[in-house]
């Protein structure tokens, strides 16, 4: 099967600075692909170019075999887009909004089925203005999938969700992926990428830094593990390629065979990701250490030390 999205040498600049700078990317048909990157990395620009909403300066882009720039309604019929923010539907009910949107597509899903799949059946006839943030977001997804798209763009779909709503949402995305829908997901949540994506791409400064499965990204499955324990009231830590042997050796040394406060960790996807983008984040914002958004570098130094 040909790739759903092919991007070669994509370049797009704003006011003299390249937001996307020679990006190459292939997204296979039927996969769920997560595009990660810090704010300003070029994620949104790349996705909006693929959605046909922005013009590019240079490079080749093919989405479902068509150049999205100036692609017609036939192409729109095969693509679903869940935007970061949508409004303007407050006075309608989810059923009305979906029924009207469905009419534009040649083979829409049944409105009742879509409402059920996003868990909005009991809110189907409530004015949208009365829906919670999570319910609105699920409606956004419903509007994106009602046309039975082959390719679905999901832009930061779970921002502002509570943990349960996020789990439910992941179930929905998994079921769409299981039906064969190609999904391009952008997110700031590493656990989301880890849970949903077949492959992960990390972009920063408009270029692709890494591309792999979430398990193998940045070679983290092969990385050394960190073993920490307490001995004589002091916290010890060592990194080793053979943590099992190390733990056995420690256990043999302890009087009762039990190692106090033992932990064995490998770098999480988040650790790997943060290490990867650190130089690029530092370039843009020198004060980023300990920023309130929580992805501070201190966690990182602790692990790699």
């Amino acid at each position: 099967m040909p790739d759903a999205i092919t991007i070669r040498g994509l370049t797009k600049g704003y006011e003299g600075r390249n937001a996307v700078d020679g990006l190459d990317l292939d997204i296979h048909a039927g996969e769920c692909f997560a595009l990660l990157g810090p704010n300003g990395a070029g994620k949104t620009t790349t996705v909006e170019i693929a959605e046909g909403f922005r013009a590019r300066d240079a490079g080749e882009v093919r989405v479902l075999g068509t150049d999205p720039q100036g692609a017609g309604l036939e192409w729109r019929n095969r693509v679903g887009i869940v935007l970061q923010t949508t409004g303007g539907l407050d006075l309608l009910t989810p059923r009305e909004a979906l029924a009207s949107t469905a009419k534009s597509y040649s083979h829409p899903r049944a409105v009742a089925d879509v409402l059920a799949s996003v868990g909005l059946d009991d809110k189907a006839d409530t004015r949208i203005v009365g829906l919670s943030g999570g319910q609105r977001r699920r409606l956004d997804v419903a509007l994106g999938i009602v046309g039975r798209p082959e390719l679905l763009f999901l832009d930061e779909p779970t921002t502002g969700f509570d943990p349960q709503a996020r789990r439910d949402f992941w179930e929905l995305i998994r079921s769409l992926a299981a039906e064969g829908t190609t999904i391009l997901l952008t997110t700031h949540y590493l656990d989301e990428a880890e849970n949903l994506a077949d492959r992960v791409g990390v972009i920063a400064a408009g270029r692709l830094l890494a591309l792999d499965t979430p398990e193998a990204l940045g070679g983290r499955s092969a990385e050394e593990a960190t073993v920490t324990w307490e001995e004589d009231g002091i916290r010890h830590s060592l990194t080793t390629p053979t943590p099992t042997a190390e733990v056995a050796r420690l256990a043999a040394r302890m009087p009762d065979g039990e190692v106090p406060a033992l932990t064995v960790t490998r770098p999480s996807l988040e650790d790997t990701y943060l290490a990867m983008i650190a130089p690029h984040v530092a370039d843009d914002t020198p004060d980023s250490h300990g920023t309130p958004d929580g992805h501070g570098t201190p966690d990182l130094t602790e692990v790699t030390a």
Binding site: E48, E51, F53, R54, A55, L73, E74, R76, N77, V79, I81, L83, T85, T86, G87, G88, L89, L91, L92, E96, S100, T101, K103, S104, Y105, S106, R127, L143, G147
Partner: protein, 265 residues
């Protein structure tokens, strides 16, 4: 599904949303009717027997009809399209295979239905509550239909074109302020011959003055034509000016329409 069917569906959806927006219903749909009632009550005593037996209701009816055309077409379009551009409605529609013409068809449908209902209600209230004598000849109603149709169509396309100049933050000031000034200098709320001549000239550039004049020619006795700027109703000229604005507005609308918020593409 073809563009016409989708356009009809959009029109139905637009009407549904419009009717559910209480502020819109009050400030654009019922406002001219409210003002007609208010003016009739306030100025009622000044019109007894004067001006060829005209009542206050009859005197203000053409102005309120003109204000209604302006509100339901121009103001509703300018404000709603600005809001839809700003809140991402237009972008969302652009992401679907809906032909763009269906969107505009929906807007025209909304304005056609809401302004027709408004005018019918305004005439009904004027006749039944304020005893205004309505024209009995076909040629007067023909002029009425022409001025109304040209005014509403022109207002719709000009309103959509004008929406590009506003953002959701500025729309109140950018739309309502100039509209209020225009209504005063065009003789909608006050008698046009009370407006200084140089201001009348300014007003004559814009279509509202011509809509109001056209409406007066329909509902006022013929002898009042002498009070107009040119000393006559100028029906032919009114039609020409309104046509020019409608066509010009359509061209500007098609050439400048933006689906995305400024600075986002």
């Amino acid at each position: 599904m073809n563009a016409l069917t989708l356009g009809l569906d959009r029109a139905r959806l637009e009407l549904k949303m419009y009717s559910r927006e209480k502020e819109a219903v009050f400030f654009s749909f019922l406002f001219p009717i409210l003002l007609l009632a208010l003016f009739s009550v306030i100025f009622g005593s000044q019109f007894d027997g004067g001006d060829g037996g005209m009542t206050a209701g009859g005197y203000f009816l053409p102005g309120m009809l003109s204000a209604g055309v302006l509100l339901t077409s121009f103001q509703t379009m300018a404000m709603s399209v600005t809001a839809e551009r700003d809140d991402g409605t237009l972008k969302r529609l652009r992401a679907t295979p809906m032909p763009p013409v269906a969107y505009f068809f929906g807007k025209v449908g909304l304005v056609a239905v809401s302004s027709t209902l408004q005018v019918a209600l305004l005439l009904l209230v004027a006749r039944l509550l304020f005893g205004v004598e309505l024209p009995t000849t076909a040629d007067r109603w023909a002029v009425f239909a022409l001025v109304f149709a040209l005014g509403v169509f022109g207002g719709t396309v000009l309103g959509i074109a004008y929406s590009s100049m506003a953002t959701a933050r500025t729309v109140g000031a950018v739309v309502i302020g100039p509209m209020l000034v225009l209504q005063f200098i065009s003789g909608v709320y006050i008698a046009f011959d009370d407006v200084p001549q140089w201001l009348q000239q300014v007003a004559a550039v814009f279509p509202l003055k011509w809509i109001a004049q056209g409406m007066r020619s329909v509902f006022f006795p013929d002898q009042l034509a002498s009070a107009e700027m040119a000393g006559s109703w100028e029906t032919g000229r009114t039609a020409m000016v309104l046509c020019a604005w409608a066509v010009g507005g359509l061209v500007v609308c098609v050439l400048t329409f933006e689906w995305f918020k400024r600075g986002t593409t």
